[in-house]
């Protein structure tokens, strides 16, 4: 089937639009003084691409010589990426209002988004790598955007860790290419089934290292707390919600397409990794005084939760593939990814509001838990949104976080990994401790200052995230269906 230009436009219209917009904005940025316009431009572009993504035809198959594909899986993730970018842009409208370099922020953000979307669509390791790097490079710069000391430290760690991981991943890809003679994921998978050797294993591990870095799985997570804490908060939101999910989609594609072939019980090794990840994330998060860092560790824990999906698929595959179980597991993982994207973005943006508030009052440690004292009265909307996001993160119904965890618990039980499900449950309960502590500060402690005017952009962003979180929580049907069809794509 040959595709015309119109088809390309309809399939990759969103990417094209965003890339074009980003380039255009660079140009405009050179010639205009009033850069506040940029935010609205990118807002409009993202809204438009949201519709383009939703409107894309998912039946056309692959494009660009079989390197990219538009299907339920890719569109699922693209929706997440665009929506997260949209929310971050809303927050940035307030954050970088009147800032002279704000055009660069939006451009980087759009490029990063495009990179992620490319990863979501790619079915070839070359495009995958390119998309991955595009997103990474943009976010390296974003992490350092405010040029404060801790931004730079964060960016430096992020950059070095990220580039090492990329290099490892590339090395792994090169080995895979050498072993299978192709760069197409499907063909790599087919070849792996035939010849499975130690070299394949090594290759896979290097690839895992690359994705594990983005996903922030133990032991590849170590950059995450530092970078999340040190970056500008809305960038952190984007990293946690967007960039991290890119790691997952890449891992889904490579690990499943290429690794479903592995017949032995590799999933147990992964299960241990998952168990360590979530436990470490939670127990260390308890100790954090900085809410941002706490959320960062919570993000690590979430990486562990979501990665249960891999384990479930592995378990479902251990004795001949049980499609229903595997699909269930994948769909559950996708639902949790979806939920996590929005609640984490929202939570970080709320943290940004608090940081903004604390800084404007000239306090030290703007992210410290103490700043949240009495937030319920100082900034009621922020506090309420934060409340819902935290409940969602802890898996209290009826929220997106609950639906995701709920399904994931179910699929873990379904695949017979009862110990993992119980550990997951205990971890989830443990995580309540630090989420509730923030809530206690917000609603129980006496406020340390007067009521503040909450910046409109932030409020818009948080409310948008809130609506999505509750919407998924109360009417999950459409999302669940979407997740199931996305999962079906991966499992053919």
């Amino acid at each position: 089937m040959t595709l015309g230009f119109g088809d390309y436009l309809s399939l990759l219209g969103a990417e094209a639009l965003l890339t074009g917009l980003a380039l255009l904005m660079i140009m405009i940025g050179l010639f205009t003084k009033n850069k506040n316009l940029m935010g609205y431009l990118s807002l409009a572009g993202l809204v438009a691409s949201l519709f383009l993504v939703m409107g894309a035809d998912m039946t056309k198959g692959s494009i660009f010589y079989g390197t990219m594909e538009v299907d339920a899986l890719s569109q699922f993730f693209k929706l997440v990426f665009v929506a997260v970018a949209l929310i971050v842009v809303m927050a940035a409208l307030s954050r970088y209002k009147d800032s002279p370099a704000q055009d660069e922020f939006y451009v980087l953000l759009l490029f990063a988004t495009v990179g992620m979307m490319v990863v979501a669509s790619s079915i070839d390791i070359v495009t995958l790598f390119i998309g991955f790097e595009l997103a990474s490079l943009s976010t390296y710069a974003m992490a350092a955007f405010d040029r404060e000391k801790q931004n730079l430290e964060a960016a430096m760690k992020y950059f070095i860790f990220g580039s090492v991981s990329s290099a490892m991943m590339l090395f792994g890809f090169s080995l895979l290419y050498g072993l299978s003679g192709t760069t197409k994921l499907a063909e790599i998978a087919a070849a792996s089934v035939e010849s499975m050797g130690p070299a394949t294993l090594v290759a896979l591990l290097f690839v895992v290292a690359g994705f594990g870095f983005k996903m922030a799985l133990v032991p590849f997570h170590m950059w995450a707390p530092d970078t999340y804490e040190g970056s500008p908060t809305i960038v952190t939101a984007f990293l946690a919600a967007g960039s991290k999910k890119m790691g997952f989609v890449a891992a889904f594609k490579v690990l499943f397409i290429a690794l479903v072939a592995l017949s032995f019980e590799w999933y147990m090794a992964f299960a241990i990794l998952v168990a360590i990840t979530m436990t470490l994330g939670n127990v260390v998060a308890i100790w954090q005084k900085s809410v941002k860092r706490m959320l960062a560790y919570s993000s690590v824990a979430y990486a562990g939760y979501i990665a249960i999906a891999f384990v479930v698929v592995g378990a479902a595959n251990s004795g001949g593939l049980d499609l229903a179980v595997a699909q269930n597991g994948l769909a559950s993982g996708l639902m949790l990814i979806l939920g996590h994207a929005f609640m984490k973005t929202g939570a970080f943006i709320a943290a940004a509001v608090v940081g903004y508030m604390a800084l404007s009052e000239g306090r030290k440690n703007p992210d410290d838990l103490e700043q949240y004292a009495g937030l319920g009265r100082r900034a009621p909307i922020t506090a309420f949104c934060m409340l819902i996001f935290l409940f969602s993160l802890s898996g209290i119904p009826p929220t997106a976080g609950f639906i995701g965890k709920f399904m994931l618990w179910g699929s873990a039980i379904d695949s017979g990994l009862v110990w993992l499900a119980v550990l997951f449950a205990l971890n989830s309960a443990l995580s309540l401790y630090y989420y509730l502590r923030v809530i206690m500060y917000m609603y129980v402690r006496e406020p340390a200052g007067a009521k503040i005017a909450e910046p409109k952009g932030y409020v818009l962003a948080m409310v948008a995230a809130l609506v999505v979180v509750l919407w998924i929580g109360v009417f999950p049907q459409a999302f669940v269906d979407f997740a199931y069809s996305a999962a079906a794509v991966l499992l053919h």
């Binding site: 590849f220 170590m222 147990m268 090794a269 127990v283 260390v284 100790w287």
Partner: protein, 653 residues
């Protein structure tokens, strides 16, 4: 016609309770007359019913479904009607007396409300047609007792005594409840096909199924039910609350702790007499406990100086007689129910009288301590004389009511011995009779005779108090002789209404007597109670009256261990309160608390502390140095490689 309104016997006092508790504050005398009227109306109703059923030897039975397999109902048979008459009559007297006695107390309305509630509960207890309902009212009278003992709740000793009374009787109630449950379960197991309107715990059903229940179960049930009676009727070893209960107003002591409530235990045993009769060893336990209590309490009555306490121990002792009277029924069959109930009724009159007289004295003199009285007769003629009447009958002076009733119990106890069921009850009873006469007149002489030993107020009580005294005194002296024989038969034949076959039950109970011939008592046995009663009075007179010949000091001295042990009341307080309640029970409670905090909650906290502490050490890995992070990645990769390699070789991880 009266029987259609039987429910009003309970209903009216409840109405009085509601009215006085809400409106009493605004009425003169706290609305006490409402309670008096309600109780008196109850008496009229009871009397009317009595007149209706007595001639034809009928019973009244009404019943309705309550919940599950339980019912609520009214049963008025000979046993119940005599109690109803007594309770309504005595309560009317006492309530009337209280109108004067409680005059001026700010809590008067509360008093009459609670008294009304008590009356209702007591009457409800009496005419219950099933064991559960009896238990419910049983508990309610306990509640009223608690409330009324603690009537002067500002007094710590009153509050404490109230609590003690409730708790100690509660121990008995717990056994009672266990007995009911045991009985109920045994009846359920029989899978009886009940006729329409019949329920498992109805007395009729119970009587009918006694022969079907295993005898060992019967014994357990009997013991447990008797446990309830022991608590309520102040039998050894649960008698300790009764003397303390004297902290309440004297009218309360008269009403609850002498005339009515404390006899509920006796009533229960009488009501369940067929069960006790059928239970092997059931009656024997009753007989021994009763007789021992009679003696045991009498010994303490000898040395007390608090006028009410003497009467309280006397009550315990007399209740022991009643129990013993029932217990010796092994020899006499259902006749002993009549005997015991007769003593119960008579005792109610004269003990109420004695308490009310004591109250009158206390009211006037302003102290309870007999050592500060003396010579009161000069100032309170009516009180003194009525109290003399009461004392005579309590001491068993010939031809008074108490003489007939107690004499009959002693004689029955003799037959119990003579027929080979054991002599001990008789011995205890006869010794206790002597002591009774002594302490009774010790009390009377110390109070009314001799010279005033302190400067007390001297005035006679008003007629609203004296009136009931006189009426009760007449009954106490003269009720016995004319009614005695009829009473024995009327009440003794109570169970014929239910078709209880005592011979059959006796076989189960193991005290079947082949030749049920009447044992003939020797003449000396017949007159011994008279000798003892009169002798006791004389002994008391020799020690304590104006014709004093001996000094108590000649018999006993300060250092006398026997006297000490009696004054210390056999160290009951030390054992029950200080040791058992405060050391054992509270000790267990403290240990439980320790376990809860340290072990159970400690484990929970430990788990959380461990997980949190784990995080505390784990976070140190995050050194902030990028090279260390990279090292972790490389190490992690190596470990993963090994793990997966192992897995691929089929090693189970």
């Amino acid at each position: 016609m009266y029987q259609d309104y039987a429910y009003l016997i309970v209903g009216l006092p409840i109405l009085a309770f509601v009215l006085t508790i809400f409106l009493g504050w605004h009425l003169p005398k706290g609305g006490g007359f409402i309670t008096v009227l309600a109780t008196f109306a109850g008496f009229i109703l009871s009397f009317g019913i009595f007149k209706e059923i007595y001639p034809n030897d009928e019973i009244v039975h009404q019943s309705m479904h309550w919940f599950a397999s339980f019912n609520a109902g009214i049963l008025i048979d000979p046993l119940a009607i005599v109690m109803l008459l007594m309770v309504t009559f005595v309560c009317t007297m006492i309530h009337t007396y209280a109108l004067g006695y409680m005059e001026g107390d700010p809590g008067m309305a509360r008093y009459f409300a609670e008294a009304g509630l008590f009356t209702a509960a007591m009457l409800g207890l009496v005419f219950s047609d099933n064991l559960l309902q009896l238990f419910i009212f049983w508990e309610l009278v306990g509640l009223c007792s608690y409330l009324l003992i603690g009537f002067w709740y500002r007094k710590p000793s009153a509050a404490s005594a109230a609590k003690k009374a409730f708790l100690v009787t509660r121990v008995g109630d717990v056994m009672f409840l266990a007995g009911i449950i045991l009985l109920y379960t045994n009846m359920v197991k029989l899978n009886l096909v009940l006729p329409e309107g019949a329920y498992l715990l109805q007395f009729q059903t119970i009587y009918d199924s006694l022969t079907l229940i295993p005898p060992d179960q019967l014994t357990w049930i009997a013991v447990l039910l008797f446990g309830g009676a022991v608590g309520k009727s102040g039998q050894f070893p649960l008698h300790v609350w009764l003397p303390d209960a004297m902290e309440g107003p004297t009218t309360v002591s008269a009403m609850i702790h002498a005339a009515t409530m404390v006899t509920a235990g006796v009533y229960l045993v009488a009501r369940m007499f067929p069960l006790f009769y059928a239970a092997p060893n059931g009656l024997m336990i009753v007989a021994y406990v009763g007789a021992f209590t009679a003696l045991f309490a009498a010994t303490m009555g000898l040395v007390m100086f608090d006028i009410k306490r003497v009467l309280a121990y006397s009550t315990v002792s007399q209740l022991g007689y009643m129990m013993a009277g029932l217990g010796v029924g092994a020899a006499m069959g259902a006749f002993s129910v009549g005997v015991s109930m007769f003593h119960l009724i008579g005792h109610s009159f004269f003990k109420a009288l004695l308490f009310l007289c004591a109250g009158s004295v206390i009211h006037a003199v302003g102290t309870n301590d007999m050592r500060e009285m003396g010579g009161v007769l000069k100032h309170m003629k009516w009180t003194g004389l009525t109290m003399l009447a009461g004392s005579l009958t309590l001491a068993g002076f010939p031809l008074t009511t108490g003489f007939f009733s107690k004499d009959e119990i002693i004689v029955t106890a003799y037959e119990h011995g003579a027929m080979g069921f054991g002599w001990l009850p008789y011995v205890f009873a006869i010794v206790a009779a002597l002591l009774t006469a002594i302490y009774t007149f010790r009390l009377w002489f110390l109070t009314f005779d001799g010279e005033a030993r302190s400067d007390y107020h001297k005035h006679e009580s008003p007629w609203i108090m004296l009136g009931p005294l006189v009426i009760l005194a007449l009954f106490a002296l003269f009720m016995g002789m004319p009614t005695q024989e009829n009473f024995y038969h009327y009440v003794g034949n109570n169970f014929e209404h239910y078709g209880v076959d005592f011979d059959e039950l006796a076989v189960i109970g193991g005290h079947h007597v082949e030749h049920a011939a009447h044992v003939h008592e020797p003449f000396i046995i017949k007159i011994l109670p008279i000798i003892i009663g009169v002798g006791g009075i004389i002994i008391a007179a020799l020690f304590y009256s104006r014709w004093k010949r001996f000094d108590p000091g000649m018999v006993t001295s300060e250092g006398d261990p026997l006297r000490k042990i009696l004054l210390k009341r056999y160290y009951q307080n030390e054992i029950y309160t200080l040791w058992f309640a405060e050391k054992v029970v509270y000790g267990i409670a403290l240990v439980s608390n320790m376990i809860d905090l340290k072990i159970i909650d400690g484990t929970v906290n430990k788990i959380s502390a461990i997980s949190v502490g784990f995080g505390g050490s784990l976070r140190k890995i995050q050194t902030g140095v990028i090279q260390n992070y990279l090292t972790a990645v490389v190490l992690g990769l190596a470990v993963l490689l090994i793990l997966i390699q192992l897995a691929s070789m089929g090693v189970a991880i």
